[in-house]
């Protein structure tokens, strides 16, 4: 992975954030992402993000589960080991339906969680750079990636004028790495305790 340059603007109000996102995008800057402590309705739309295709993946996983259940039970009870259970036909569809349903849900749920983790690059011990510790607490953190032509000071001023309460410049790892935060990164509380 590579080191990249970022300008980070922090907002403490949703009502300021939305116009700021609009202004920054109109000015031609590329917003990498906005990290928020809670899901903000409509922010994905404001950022111009593509609709996620996670549900399409979920549908495919579900269908896979259905087919697995039908074909497995169908094969076992008609070809592999046919049994007479209460005089019912070997391919006893109503009795299969609960299991078909369970496997559909299981495949869809587990598959979607795994896909979600893959898309977000989440896994045990996989770490990413955190742009601001308070992004999980009470700040909306807007991250803009700098290009060769970006004037960092201009951009910082621009963000400040859009209502950012805190603006800084960071050079950070853009990808993920294996590691542990408690050894590599100081916690926000510790950082502040040192200052205080």
């Amino acid at each position: 992975m590579a080191l990249k340059r970022y300008v980070v603007g922090c907002f403490d109000d949703e009502a300021v954030l939305f116009p700021a996102v609009k202004k920054v995008r109109n000015a031609g800057y590329k917003i990498q992402d906005v990290y928020t402590p809670f899901p903000v309705h409509g922010l994905d739309h404001a950022l111009g993000m593509r609709e996620t295709s996670l549900h399409t993946a979920g549908f495919i996983y579900g269908i896979t589960g259905t087919i697995t259940a039908v074909s497995c039970m169908g094969w076992v009870f008609t070809k592999d080991w046919p049994m007479n259970i209460g005089g019912k036909p070997n391919f006893a569809l109503p009795a299969f339906i609960p299991i078909i349903f369970e496997l559909t849900v299981l495949f869809a749920a587990v598959g979607m969680v795994m896909t979600f983790c893959y898309l977000c690059q989440l896994a045990p011990f996989v770490k990413h750079h955190h742009f601001h510790p308070r992004a999980t607490d009470d700040l909306f953190v807007m991250v803009i990636e700098c290009t060769d032509r970006t004037n960092v000071e201009d951009l910082k001023g621009f963000l400040q004028s859009s209502g950012a309460v805190e603006v800084n410049y960071q050079v950070a790892e853009s990808g993920w790495w294996f590691g542990r935060y408690d050894k590599e990164q100081k916690l926000y509380a510790e950082e502040n305790a040192a200052i205080g």
């Binding site: 209460g86 005089g87 019912k88 109503p94 009795a95 339906i97 609960p98």
Partner: protein
Amino acid sequence: MASIREQFEVPGSMRTWSMGLIGVGILAFIIGFITKGLSSDPHEQAIFWGTLMYNSVFFLLICNASMFFICVTTLAHGGWQVVFKRVPEAISAVVPIFGLITMFILFYVLFGLNHDGHNAIYHWVNPGNDEILIKKKGFLNPAFFVIWTLLSIGLWSYLGMRMRKLSYESDRAEMNLEEGKSWVWKNTVSGSMFLVWFGLTVGSTTPWLWLMSIDSHWYSTMYSWYTFASSFVSGMALIAIWIIYLKNRGYLEYTTDEHLHDVGKFMFAFSIFWTYLWFSQYMLIWYSNQPEETVYFQPRTNNGVWKGIFYMNLVINFVCPLLILMTKGSKRNYTIMTFMAVLIVFGHWMDFNQMVMASVSRDHVTLSWFDFGIMALFVGMIILLVGKNLAKYPMLQKNHPFLKESIIHHT
């Protein structure tokens, strides 16, 4: 708020359509009455009254489902439905009228169809020396039937009226915080009273009494929930049809795709809930395969003549909503939503047809012009009466404390 159209005016086309449908319905009723109702054959009479019965019960229950929707959202402290709350209110105001019609038909079936000590629809009226029916006499007897029917319909009408009255009262003046709180509390109390009664009737006893008792030896505890699911999903579909109609006419300015999306979610979710109950009822009986239980499914499955309608229901009421209403886009598309809402109402109407008529007439399918004629009669009455009710009051409940929450609703 100045620019919205507050008052609904019944357009001429609506009046023409409703009158036309009612005319067709009355014509069908008269011809049906002459050819079937006056017939000396008790079976023909049973078909005539059975058809009237399932139609009236179905349309009564789907209108009553609107009040259930209002009460449930009120008790959940939901705010999103406020912008179109006058639509389910107007639909539920039809309940007293449909209730009277239903009551008349049910009582006629109970008392008027007894020939030589045998009731053509409700066999339990004359138990004779049938041991099973004698055991059930505590629940299945004319006195209890009459009292419970009067109470059911009477209290649905009365408690529903209380809820609507509270809503119309709020239009008079703006409420401050304290007044708003007490108004919401009053709504909560009225709503919970309705829901308790709804649970005791539609949720449990009334469908057993009205519909399940046609197969008087058979019983299924699932039956009432199944009926409720049917009526609630079609009730939501009916609300959706009205919302889309009013939107297309330029009313309900604050009702957006977001609200329609949520109504669509109800239609989708309760279609699946209905299927869950359908399956639970079917599978247990199929699995244990006991003669006294399978008697209900005999005319409906395997070699029964009602097989086609029975399985078609599953396609219309489960497969279609599941596949078509699954995506976000389809729940926000007026054309797809209208199509699906009409399909769902029609599908559950067919379901009621099969629930009642396959028991009344086990050997041949009775679906004919007469069924559609009576359906036209009720549809016409819904269009006429709901339109009138809508025109009586402002379209927006402008002083509801949750109005803003509803306007900015986002799914």
